[in-house]
């Protein structure tokens, strides 16, 4: 039985359906991310788990107990907010010990737990400081410590890193994951940052317009997107117009040039126009080693992005991108050159709703 279970959960605000028939089963200790654009319903779903919003329909179970209509105080979830939400009138130690204080735990126990938490977030010397004396990253670590000090059954994180700068974001997300693994807390993490979701999670729930688009491991989500939205939202994607040439053999035409997909073509017939997706990093120059598919294209632009070089090419009306690792001996074509690019059959995905 799943530890955290959302069964057909829906939420409406007046006429607006914020979340529709949301189903999720998370195992104990699992790290699940809700990934999607603003307004897709991910925060509303998280707030329903926390008890700040009541579902219009459906049930929420934590460890087999129905908490759907329980108040937030009775759910034993720990929440970390986007804007930290530390109590400004309390020191770091008082913030961390707040949950234990209101639970009327003995002061010796509170003190011991606070010290453990400060050690966990590596802020032993900051116990007497006030939130306004801390940086954003430090405040968020304190917020995390405060949330886990009460030993919650489920840890909920609502875009906890979005207010921080890039470097701190990367460092802190690794810290969050390490702490989560160490304590084994079932965690739900809301983010619109695909890199964050992919790097942190055991599973990712991709959401759009209040609905789940796809649930899967980061590997599945990135490499085998099941819907056009997932394919577009996660990672950089080339969307290429093509025509089915031979359904049985998976043959397609791009700008009259024949390519083959490993995917079984279903619901289409010869001559049907479809949309293909190919990740930029799965395309390479044929001169570096040929793969089953080859296309002649014209180079339109070359952009250095540090560790990779992004090349924009054109085949007829289709403009797409290819990424190649940068190295000092890399030989690149000139803009305007016609070159052959190549990719595997598995790299070509025919999108649903094409």
């Amino acid at each position: 039985m799943a530890f955290l279970e959302l069964d057909n959960v829906s939420k409406s605000f007046g006429q607006v359906e914020a979340v529709q028939n949301f189903n999720l089963q998370a195992e104990r200790g699992e790290f699940v991310s809700f990934l999607g654009p603003s307004g897709c319903g991910k925060t509303t779903t998280l707030r329903m788990i926390a008890g700040f919003e009541l579902p219009t329909a459906g049930t929420i179970l934590i460890s087999g107990n129905d908490v759907t209509f329980k108040p937030p105080q009775k759910r034993n979830t720990g929440m970390v907010f986007q804007a930290y939400a530390l109590f400004p009138n309390m020191t770091v130690a008082d913030n961390i010990g707040f949950g234990l204080k209101v639970a009327k735990k003995p002061s010796a126990e509170i003190k011991k737990r606070v010290a453990e938490m400060l050690a966990l977030i590596k802020m032993e010397k900051f116990g007497d400081r006030y939130p306004y004396q801390l940086s954003g990253g430090q405040q968020q670590r304190v917020a995390l410590a405060r949330a886990i000090a009460i030993q919650p059954q489920v840890l909920l994180l609502d875009e906890p890193l979005s207010a921080l700068d890039a470097k701190i974001r990367v460092a802190l997300r690794q810290e969050i994951r390490a702490i989560q693994r160490e304590l084994g807390i079932t965690t739900v993490y809301v983010t619109h940052d695909q890199e964050e979701a992919l790097s942190l999670s055991d599973r990712v729930v991709v959401m759009n317009n209040g609905c789940i688009e796809q649930v899967g491991t980061p590997f599945e989500i990135y490499n085998f997107p099941q819907t056009e939205f997932t394919a577009q939202f996660v990672g950089t994607l080339n969307r290429i117009g093509a025509t089915v040439r031979d359904v049985a053999n998976g043959e397609l035409l791009i700008d009259s040039q024949r390519i083959v997909t490993a995917q079984k073509l279903e619901g289409v017939s010869n001559g049907t126009a479809v949309t293909l997706s190919i990740r930029p990093e799965r395309i390479s120059f044929a001169a570096d080693g040929r793969k089953p598919n080859g296309l002649n294209v014209r180079v339109e632009n070359i952009t250095f992005l540090g560790s990779i070089v992004r090349v924009q090419v054109r085949a007829g009306d289709n403009v797409f991108l290819m990424d190649t690792f940068n190295n000092p001996f890399l030989k690149l074509p000139d803009i305007g050159d016609v070159v052959e690019i190549t990719f595997s059959k598995e790299a070509v995905l025919v999108l649903k709703h094409a």
């Binding site: 108040p71 720990g78 939400a85 009138n89 009460i150």
Partner: protein, 300 residues
């Protein structure tokens, strides 16, 4: 090691000569300084000098010694009583109104209406306010008459008297609570929804949230504003004078009597009592500023 002497630095072609240009922005604040000097610094200095002179303009400390007369101490005490009662009463009423409209989830128009009313009412004092109260709650006032004819209730028979401590406090409350609403509103706006949610998430009840989070955060603003209301009432003169005809022994009325020369003129004593008031006001404003700074640090 290369040594560069001072002359080389001064004669270096890249040396930038900085000339201090006076900003035109000073021109904008010039009226403020002129106003402050003319109507604050000079009168205050005049008061201090006057309080240290006798009727023949000789230096004396007798005016300050005379302040310990029972009549003057009584006037101070009465002024402080009226100020405390109206600051606490107006403060609590204003806070509850502001809380209901800002954090209570009422429609936005209620807040707008309250703010507009408060803006007007907090400046409605002096003779017009006294007249308004006489016209409504005086012996023949509109409300008094209405209560008598509609409900057979004569409030004056039940001990109410507009020209008493209670009546004066009621009149003061009219401008005190709107001032509280105006000043406490930004502090209430600064209370974040996430604080309540975080405390609930950590298991706190509504009472515990108020006890440990909201009230301590609001307390500096609340106390600071009440101190400001205290100062506001302490310095009020025209309302009390117009309402009671100068018979109510507040410190401000006493100062007026001494300076205008009713009964026994002693401007020096009047100035000394006024200096005492200025000191109390200055203390109030200092405590208010300190509490506000503390509150702002938390709410930013």
């Amino acid at each position: 090691m290369t040594h560069i002497n001072q002359a080389e630095i001064l004669n270096h072609p890249l040396r930038v000569t900085r000339t201090r240009n006076i900003s035109w922005a000073w021109l904008g604040v010039l009226p403020f300084f002129v106003f402050a000097i003319a109507f604050l610094i000079l009168p205050a200095s005049y008061l201090v000098v006057g309080s240290l002179q006798d009727t023949k303009e000789n230096f004396t400390l007798a005016n300050f010694a005379d302040m310990f007369q029972p009549e003057i101490l009584g006037a101070y005490w009465l002024s402080i009583q009226v100020s405390v009662v109206t600051a606490v009463g107006g403060g609590l009423l204003g806070f509850m109104l502001a809380y209901a409209t800002i954090l209570g989830g009422l429609p936005r128009w209620v807040r707008n209406a309250l703010m507009t009313f408060s803006g007007v009412a907090s400046n409605f004092s002096g003779v017009p306010l006294a007249f308004a109260f006489i016209a409504t709650l005086g012996r023949t006032g509109f409300i008094t008459a209405l209560l008598k004819t509609a409900f057979g209730l004569n409030i004056y028979e039940y001990g109410f008297n507009l020209y008493s401590f209670l009546g004066l406090s009621l009149a003061y409350m009219y401008f005190q609570f709107p001032l509280m609403v105006l000043i406490i509103a930004p502090a209430l706006d600064g209370i974040k929804r996430e604080w309540r949610e975080a405390s609930e998430n950590l298991g706190a009840t509504s009472w515990q949230y108020w006890r440990y989070v909201a009230l301590p955060i609001l307390l500096p603003s609340l106390l600071g504003t009440m101190i400001l209301l205290f100062g506001n009432a302490l310095g009020a003169y025209a309302t009390a004078f117009a309402l009671t005809g100068g018979t109510f022994g507040l410190a401000t009325i006493l100062i007026g009597r001494q300076i205008r020369g009713e009964v026994l003129q002693n401007p020096g004593l009047g100035y000394a009592v006024a200096v005492g008031m200025v000191i109390i006001m200055a203390l109030s404003v200092s405590i208010y500023s300190w509490l506000q700074r503390r509150s702002e640090r938390w709410l930013r």
